[in-house]
Symmetry: C2
Subunit: 132 residues, 2 copies
């Protein structure tokens, strides 16, 4: 937002805008969690699965594959029995930590206001519906 490339082109609103790409990247339940966990260091598939603990195998695999495709996560398969696979952030992946951290910091700093606004809004809605 308020970015140079976006301001120059009228197509901020198009799917071609970089903004869209990034949002599509982090805009699902699991991606951010995976990145967050991998920010701590290289980890095995099973460890990720256990830590996230609400995610299905399907979603974890799908998320990891997407991140790998985007070059944010590297996949290391060891030809052993039983198999072992480790995941870690790439250099590119690490660069994403900071801006995402900024967003997280914002969240923590303004969560109270946000919740207060919600309560107030819901309260007013309730009163309005009662008077109707």
């Amino acid at each position: 937002m308020v970015s140079k490339a976006c301001s120059l082109h009228p197509n901020v609103l198009s799917a071609q805008c970089p903004t869209r790409q990034v949002l599509d990247l982090i805009a699902d339940k699991w991606t951010t969690l995976v990145i967050y966990l991998l920010a701590r260091g290289r980890q095995r598939y099973g460890d990720l699965h256990r830590q996230i603990g609400g995610i299905s195998q399907k979603m974890l695999t799908q998320t990891l594959r997407k991140l790998e495709r985007d070059g944010l996560v590297a996949r290391h398969v060891y030809p052993e029995v039983p198999p072992r696979t480790e995941y870690e952030l790439t250099v590119l992946g690490h660069t994403l930590i900071e801006p995402m951290g900024a967003l997280c910091t914002w969240a923590e700093g303004h969560l109270a206001e946000l919740e207060q606004a919600r309560r107030r809004y819901d309260h007013l809605q309730k009163k309005a519906s009662l008077s109707a």
Copy 2:
């Protein structure tokens, strides 16, 4: 990510983590676009609708209501005929512009790498499937 509150609690992975709240906030196609447009200043419903140009009335209204509920956007209804409604970012809403800008800047700076990674990945996948 890599945030204090998140690191302290083991429940980063729970829905209670502020991260989740923020992501839920911006994680859909339209929210960011609306915020982006409103960052330019107060605007009418119809103007937003026309500028975004792929959005349905349903989604625009829904997005605006959500942002209003979260205290990020203020809604001004003028009791006129025909009706006029204007939307603008609240003070809280403005504070979100910067962290979102950081993400956008990241996107612009790394989009090329991202696309290259994708091409490379898809290329390798193709070769793998052919040899099979």
